[in-house]
């Protein structure tokens, strides 16, 4: 079973996105900030990071940089879903897809499928 690391500080969104990913057959790890996400990505096997940008503690940009700099996590595909998706395009070059909020849930699940399977 493929494992998705869902990085999102908004609890309501985390809950509903996790619900749909589980329904679509993924195992979901949740992190509410970048620091916790980075720990999880280094200590467990993760097939994809679903990334919010604006978060407390460590934001999505810093997390993406740290993941890229660490050989253990450098190859994990990233899908960004954020209110600043356009801005993120210029800064997280290796992300597969950028979804602007509000996205449709089926659109998000499709983007995850595609990024995981392209690996």
């Amino acid at each position: 079973m493929k494992r998705v690391l869902l990085v999102e500080d908004d609890r309501a969104i985390r809950r509903i996105v996790a619900h749909h990913l589980v329904k679509a057959g993924y195992e979901v790890l949740e992190a509410e900030d970048g620091a916790k996400a980075f720990d999880l990505a280094r200590t467990t096997t993760v097939d994809l990071v679903l990334l919010d940008i604006r978060m407390p503690a460590m934001d999505g940009y810093e997390l993406a940089d740290r993941l890229a700099a660490d050989p253990i996590t450098a190859d994990i595909p990233i899908v960004v879903c954020s209110v600043v998706a356009d801005e993120a395009k210029a800064r997280i070059l290796r992300a597969k897809t950028f979804l602007l909020r509000p996205f449709r849930v089926d659109e998000l699940v499709a983007a995850v499928h595609e990024a995981v399977n392209a690996r």
Binding site: D10, A12, I13, I16, V17, H19, H20, R54, V83, V84, L100, R101, P102, F103, R104, V105, D106
Partner: protein, 227 residues
């Protein structure tokens, strides 16, 4: 409008809106066939889509007004823009059995302006012409060469009284506040149209007669031979 403020607020609104939309969509799949439950959840969903459009338009408008959008000055072929505007409005037109006609000269030369912005102007005008029409009505988009490329969108709709024509384009101004519900929309479409045309050094002419219909007209310079 303070552009930074609008931008911040727009971003802040997107996250709760994401939740509202996602939960409504999810419930629609979960609750099964009760038509009234489906209908009510459908309202939540479509209103959240409308709110999203409103946020996008507010953001867009704030950018235009702050001068942060640099409009291009490039040759633009008009016909494809008109076709796309009609395509966007077609489902709504079909629903109300409204016929959309075009009259575009076959050898129409390109105009000079910003293609994306002019697309938005045409999309908003054709959409309005369908929305404020009557069932079985008509919309005509006509283009002619007359001091530049003159574009006209005419409808056989409900029309407007003179004072409404004067106020058209004011933010959130509605000709008839009671039909906000029935026609949807954001109340910003016409403001965006006027701002874009002003940025192109031109303006929107409006003629309207209550119960007869409205005509919206503007002229943009030809790509070649213009000043």
């Amino acid at each position: 409008m303070k552009s930074d403020f609008v931008s911040t607020v727009s971003h802040e609104l997107r996250t709760p809106l994401t939740s509202i939309r996602a939960y409504a969509e999810t419930l629609r799949d979960m609750v099964g066939g009760d038509p009234m439950v489906q209908e009510f959840l459908g309202v939540i969903e479509s209103e959240s889509v409308r709110l999203t459009r409103l946020i996008n338009e507010l953001l867009n408008l704030a950018r235009i007004e702050s001068g942060r959008i640099r409009f291009k000055q490039e040759p633009v072929a008009v016909s494809p823009l008109i076709m796309r505007a009609i395509q966007t409005a077609q489902p709504k037109a079909d629903e109300a059995e409204i016929r959309i006609e075009t009259q575009v000269p076959a050898d129409l030369p390109a105009l000079r302006g910003d293609g994306d912005a002019i697309q938005q102007v045409l999309t908003n005008l054709v959409d309005n012409a369908v929305k404020y029409n009557r069932p079985g009505g008509r919309v005509a988009v006509r283009v002619s060469i007359n001091g530049g490329v003159a574009i006209e969108v005419r409808d056989t709709g409900i029309g407007m009284p003179e004072r409404a024509v004067q106020r058209l384009g004011e933010r959130f101004y509605r000709v008839d506040s009671s039909d906000t519900r029935s026609v949807g929309g954001t109340g910003l479409g016409m403001t965006v149209v006027k701002e874009i045309l002003a940025a192109h050094g031109t303006h929107l002419e409006v003629e309207s007669a209550e119960g007869v219909g409205s005509v919206f007209r503007f002229v943009l310079p030809l790509a070649e031979g213009g000043p």
